[in-house]
């Protein structure tokens, strides 16, 4: 299935785009999607998404069809979700 992936803040700057379509199998988990996205670009983009162990960063906010993903989101399958918004923390004042 095709998922609409959107980025904000530093993540959008590192990606060079604010969003892109992403193909994922229905049984793919969101954690796997985030890891695949990180691997697709590498560099700063990947560093914003994943920690040194390759796990999604605890401060990465994941919003699925407008709702914050609950704890354990990385293990949830992507089915029935059209848009995922990946938000890295911002503190500009």
């Amino acid at each position: 299935m095709r998922v609409n992936v959107q980025y904000t803040g530093q993540l959008a700057l590192a990606a060079g785009v604010k969003g892109e379509p992403w193909e994922a199998g229905e049984d793919t988990t969101w954690g796997q999607v985030v890891c695949s996205l990180a691997q697709s670009r590498g560099g700063e983009f990947a560093d914003l998404l994943l920690d040194v162990q390759g796990r999604p960063r605890p401060s990465l906010l994941v919003v699925l069809d407008g709702n914050q993903a609950a704890a354990g989101w990385a293990n949830l399958p992507v089915h029935d979700v059209r848009t995922v918004l990946l938000m890295t923390p911002i503190a500009g004042g």
Binding site: T8, D47, P58, S59, V63, L85, T88, I90, A91, G93
Partner: protein, 251 residues
Amino acid sequence: MNVNEALPDGDRAIYEWQLDVPGFGERGQLILRRSTALVTRCGGVGGNLAFSLAAAGFGKLVLAHGGELRPDDLNRQILMRHDGIGRPRVESMVATLEAFNPGVELEAVPENATEENVAGLVAKADIVFSAAPLFEERLLLNRECVRQGKPLIDCAMYGVEGQVIVVVPGQSACLACLYPEIPPNWRRRFPVIGAVAALAGNIGAIEGIKRLTGLGTSAVGQMIHFDAAEMRFQTITLWRNPSCTVCGAIG
């Protein structure tokens, strides 16, 4: 609040246009007049925010911001002035706000929030507005607001984006529920257009006014996020983290 207390005539003359706002009125104005807000810091986001709180008629503003004014502050820090370059930022802040609304009591603190001063700063206020450029400060203010049970309006921006989070301890997600660690990739220098900072600050100001007066529907427990390049706004409901080290044990 004593509902029989009348608004002083001097206040009525200044605020009469906002007294007409349904759901606000004299009661809302009296609440603001009796309220103290802490704003830290008072740069691009916080300066605009403080300006709007002064315009709204808060009784007292505690303004915390350290350091001296630099030329590269002046694309966004609306309380500052060119002739203040090299001088403490609080001097410009106080001069601007005193000239704008002398009816608001101002307490300027020439320091940023630190482990040493944060308890005292938060204790002075009925509501706290955080607009610091570092997560160390934001998470410190969040922790102290949760400890003291004070509402926190956290306002931030990046480039053409902004976000505001309304935290009511024990009722809503706190900042540490979202950011359980200091984000290692955040950089002190961030892209900023002053009007975007102003937008984020003013969304924070109206959320604070709503929280205190009961006007409208508070965005408590939500993140208001906007992308000014597309002029797209969205409101995201935030979940409390039951294992949050700051607020997980309360409420």
